[in-house]
């Protein structure tokens, strides 16, 4: 039986490396804005929160065309804070289990569906490909895969930013979300196919990939 969870979609950042004048969640890839890919995937969830900051009004307008029962959470300090600040704000008064999903990440639908259908604490990982990844070390145990360490140094796999965990694990004040997850390792790890969009090159790659996947 699936437990009730709060879905958080982090869309507050400026994405300044990309040179796009809007929040990255409004990028059209695979036929529609990124945010709509996410909304379609979470349409059966009651408690969906979109964290907004940069370009908030435009993002709100786009979301409301498709779904009115959303809680928009403001990260007013989006210029000087990161995803952990957004996630901390969004998980206040949330259900016990939360899922954090970044607005600039395009995920293969079936992989996200599989991830959401499980109830265990878990992270989503993929083969390392980004310029500045959070690598993740994995260990197999009893047919399941577990993340045992995060590192910036080197690795075969990276963390995608996707996580499902108890909301009490999200503690503001650290620098990055993975810092706050470290004390909960080992955590189950699920492989997902995805593309993050940070740089102009990422966007080109993501659009190529989307043509195959979507």
């Amino acid at each position: 039986m699936q437990i009730s969870k709060t879905i958080v979609i982090n869309c507050a950042g400026m994405g300044s490396r990309l040179g796009f004048g809007h929040t990255k969640a409004l990028l059209e890839i695979g036929g529609k804005p990124l945010i709509l890919h996410h909304l379609d995937q979470v349409k059966d969830y009651e408690d969906v929160r979109v964290v907004v900051g940069f370009d908030a009004q435009e993002l709100i307008n786009e979301v409301l065309k498709h779904r009115k029962n959303i809680v928009f959470v403001f990260n007013h300090d989006y210029q000087t804070t990161g995803t952990l600040a957004s996630l901390s704000l969004a998980t206040k008064y949330a259900k016990d289990k939360i899922v954090s999903l970044d607005g600039d990440l395009l995920i293969k639908p079936n992989d996200l569906k599989g991830f959401l259908s499980a109830d265990e604490d878990q992270i989503g990982y993929c083969d390392a490909y980004t310029e500045d990844p959070v690598f993740v070390k994995l260990k197999k145990k009893q047919n399941k895969c577990f993340a045992t360490q995060f590192t910036r140094k080197s690795g075969k796999y990276e963390w995608t930013g996707l996580v499902q965990i108890n909301k009490k694990s999200i503690i503001a004040g650290k620098k990055h979300v993975y810092h706050t997850l470290e004390k909960h390792l080992p955590i189950q790890a699920t492989k997902i196919a995805c593309r993050e969009i940070d740089t102009p090159n990422d966007l080109i790659e993501a659009m190529k990939w989307a043509r195959e996947v979507f």
């Binding site: 009651e46 408690d47 907004v52 908030a56 009004q57 709100i60 409301l64 009115k68 029962n69 959303i70 809680v71 928009f72 959470v73 403001f74 007013h76 704000l89 008064y93 949330a94 259900k95």
Partner: protein, 197 residues
């Protein structure tokens, strides 16, 4: 239970702005709607605008206004929430006590509002205009504040949890710069408020 709740009236609890509906009696609905919209957006300061709008409407007998206001459609979801949490809710409105009397008595929760000078059924003018942030001093618990117009700004800024509400019309832009949350649907608002409780 950690919080009490403060709700704006016009355009939050009511599904239409109140003053333009009253203005229909005098055939000045369009003019009143425009003035009201500009005030909600913060283009005209509230006190100045409200004084002008009351002056435009004061020829309508108070009892007639009370009945008009009592007939304005309200959100049944928000009404249920108010009724289920009577002791924890405040209606906080710049609107006039004599005009909203029947409506708020029917709802039955605490009210903070502007007050009128009147004689019998005749409105003479405004006695006092409410400063909405006063609700924080009156409440015995921290307040979750819900509003849609620019004159809700202080109340929302001073609240530990401030919600810009867009269930009737877009919230004033100024609210989106200070609110903790924005919610555009009355059922979603009440679902979220229950989760905060």
């Amino acid at each position: 239970m950690k919080f009490n709740f403060a709700f704006d009236l016009d355009g939050t609890i009511t599904k239409k702005e109140v003053l333009p509906i009253i203005a229909k009696e005098l055939g000045i609905h369009k003019e009143m709607a425009e003035l009201t919209r500009k005030t909600m957006d913060g283009d005209i300061p509230f006190n100045q605008s409200f004084t002008k709008r009351v002056d435009m409407l004061k020829s309508v007998p108070i009892s007639r206004v009370q009945k008009i206001v009592d007939a304005i459609p309200i959100s049944s979801t928000i009404l249920s929430f108010l009724e289920e949490n009577k002791d924890r809710c405040y209606i906080v409105t710049g609107n006039l006590d004599v005009w909203i009397k029947l409506l708020v008595e029917r709802i039955g929760v605490n009210v903070l509002c502007s007050t009128a000078n009147f004689k019998g059924d005749k409105l003479l003018g405004i006695n006092s205009i409410l400063r909405k942030k006063d609700v924080h001093e009156i409440s015995n618990k921290p307040i979750i504040a819900v509003g849609d117009g620019h004159n809700d700004l202080e109340m929302i800024m001073a609240a530990p949890i401030g919600i810009a509400y867009g269930g009737v019309h877009k919230p004033a832009e100024s609210l989106l710069t200070v609110a903790n949350y924005a919610i555009y649907n009355d059922e979603e608002l009440c679902r979220f408020l229950k989760q905060l409780s």
